[in-house]
Symmetry: C2
Subunit: 223 residues, 2 copies
């Protein structure tokens, strides 16, 4: 019974995601679905990325949270449009879905948005199953989470185009095996592009930002 | 539609959880449902706890993972019975449920188990909604996740009896505001008992272990 219900939910979501994708295509808005565990550093990454892209790409944010508007407020002060989705009152909703994103898009000026960053609910499991109409999934994995995570939570890595390995400044204080982490990412998904960075120190941020700019150029060119 | 379906799933789960609780009551097995984000340090905490309880309490483990049996193997070498539940093949199953636990119990000698540690899937959202028949929920929160998490993921803290704040040895290397973290835990749930510890250094572990021993004594006494 349960599996049938879930299949039905996933199919309905996929149809809506296709609609969202067409809309984003028409307005040449490149959308990234940013997912990762609670505390992986998603919001901090977004904040630093928005700062680094100022004057280069027009960014907007959809911010998914179980509760509180803290992250949305933190990003809104950076002067970009932010739409908050709070999922707490929707029982069982531990991830964003395409319907929520479609509704949020109605509150953004897509014609004036080059890059849409969708920060998913902090959760390494459920968000991986729900397409949002995004161009690509970006999974943020903090080095503090340990090198085994790509194997233990394969969905979030198999479906991602990019992994941002975050909080690299903490490596000297951890027992983490970086070589094993890189190997496990490759095992989970050999096609992954990986950026290792620290949003706090700024180390490695440039490669990630340049990648975003290049992707947006390629995306506009493909129109 | 969706909410009705979820309500039905939750009610069915609750009935099974009540069954599991009675079974554990009859065998005087104290069960803890240990939850937290991926990489919060649940398995490391369990490993250190098992070591510290040797000769005092007879421990068994139910180990929930999306994929891999790595954690179960890591704990089995400590000489305690471990039953693995892999949820990967059950779509949408990002948490343990009472039916899985009931099945796992059939593979354990409960009469020879004082303390049953159930490590849930790494996820700060979904596991909070599913009772497993446990005596109490223990939420593990790593200091690396940031001080805002009790407010952003209230379910995991509201329903817990205890929070273990883990990886305390990393505090000097982080920008985490410990006072704010303590305040946010109190706000989320004023009745919470909190242990701040580092499983790696062993700092603070004793208080947690003594609490387990005391709880088990009280639980047997209440029979």
């Amino acid at each position: 019974m349960r599996i049938e219900v879930i299949d039905r939910i996933l199919s309905a979501n996929e149809a809506t995601a296709t609609e969202v994708a067409s809309l984003l295509r028409r307005t040449a808005t490149l959308a990234l679905n940013v997912l990762g565990s609670p505390g992986a550093g998603k919001t901090e990454l977004l904040a630093r990325t928005i700062g680094a892209l100022e004057g280069r790409l027009r960014v907007a944010v959809i911010e998914g949270d179980v509760a509180t508007t803290a992250d949305a407020e933190r990003l809104a002060v950076l002067g970009v449009p932010v739409v908050q989705i709070e999922t707490a009152n929707l029982p069982g909703v531990c991830h964003l879905n395409a319907t929520m994103v479609r509704e949020a898009l109605g509150r953004l000026d897509l014609a004036a948005t080059d890059l849409l960053l969708i920060e998913n609910v902090g959760n390494l499991v459920c968000p991986a199953e729900f397409e949002l109409g995004e161009w690509a999934k970006v999974t943020v994995l903090s080095v503090t989470e340990g090198e085994d995570k790509p194997l233990k939570y394969p969905g979030a890595f198999r479906g991602a185009r990019v992994v941002v390995v975050s909080k690299m400044d903490l490596v000297p204080h951890l027992g983490v095996d970086l070589e094993a982490l890189r190997r496990n990412l490759q095992t989970a998904n050999p096609a992954l592009e990986t950026f290792e960075l620290s949003a706090r120190s700024g180390e490695g941020l440039e490669g990630w930002v340049e990648w975003l700019v290049r992707c947006h150029e390629a995306w506009r060119g493909a129109e």
